[in-house]
C-alpha cells in the first residue's frame, strides 16, 4: 500500500516528507516504546506512535523507517518536524487513537508483522 493511501485511510495530515508519498508500505508497528520498535525487524514499515519527542525520529532513522504517524491528534513541535525533514522521514498526524488507527490499517490489508525471536 502506498503512503498516500495510508494517509487517506487515517485522514492524516502531512507535516513533512511529501517525497515519501509514493513509497510502498507492507508492515506496521504501533508502539510508544522505542526499544520495542527497535526489536521489530522489517523493511517498508510505517511507525504509529503517540510519542512526539525527537527520539522517535531518531529511532525511525536507525530503523530505516521513512514514515511516522502520530496518533491521538498529537502534533510534534517544529524542531521535531525539522529533524524529520533533515532525515527524509515523512510525518503525519491523525486524530484516530492508536487502536483505531492500527485497526483501520490492518483491515485495509497491512497485516505484516515484525520478526520477534
Amino acid at each position: 500500500m502506498k503512503v498516500s493511501e495510508i494517509a487517506s485511510i487515517l485522514e492524516a495530515e502531512l507535516l513533512t516528507g511529501e517525497e515519501n508519498l509514493d513509497l510502498e508500505i507492507e508492515h506496521a508497528c504501533g508502539s510508544d516504546l522505542m526499544s520495542d520498535v527497535m526489536a521489530f525487524v522489517k523493511e517498508n514499515v510505517v511507525l504509529l506512535t503517540g510519542l512526539v519527542n525527537p527520539q522517535v525520529v531518531r529511532t525511525a532513522e536507525m530503523m530505516d523507517i521513512k514514515v511516522i504517524v502520530f496518533v491521538r491528534g498529537k502534533k510534534p513541535d517544529e524542531k521535531v518536524i525539522q529533524f524529520a525533514k533533515e532525515k527524509g522521514i515523512a510525518i503525519f498526524v491523525t486524530k484516530d487513537p492508536m487502536f483505531i488507527a492500527c485497526g483501520k490499517l490492518y483491515s485495509s490489508g497491512i497485516t505484516g508483522r515484525g520478526v520477534w525471536d
Binding site: L33, S35, D36, M38, A39, Q55, V56, T59, M62, D64
Partner: protein
Amino acid sequence: MGLSNNIIRQSYVIPADDFSLAGEASSSVKKMLNQLGVPPQTVKKVAIAMYEAEINAVIHAGGGTADVEIGKGKVVVVISDEGPGIPDLELAMKEGYSTAPDSIREMGFGAGMGLPNIKRYADKLDIKTEVGKGTSVEITVFL
C-alpha cells in the same frame, strides 16, 4: 575511502544531559557506513545496537564516549562510561528488567529492552562493568 585495506577509527563524546540529542554518534556512524557501501541490513544492526548503548550511557551514566573501528571485516563499537556500573548483569540482560526512572519511560525508553536489543543485533557482545567505576560495552558486527 575503501573497506578492504584501511582501518577507519572515529571517536565521539556522548554528552550527558540532553536526552533529545542522544544518538548523534550513532547517526554519524550510520552515515559513514552507508557511504562506505556497507549493506543496509548490516548498517542497521550496527546503528540500532550502538544507539541503544548510547541511550543507556545517557540514561544511566551521565554520558560517555564511543570509539568505532571499521575494517578487517568487522565494525567494532565500544561505548564506555564512568557511571555506576551494573550490579547484576545477568538480570540486566533480561527483557523487561529496567532501572530507568519514570522521566525516561515518558520518553519511550527504559522498558528493559536496551541490552537485549543490543545482544539481538550484535554478532558479538562483550560487556565489562564494575560497580562504582563504570561500564564498557563492546559491540562487534561482522561485515
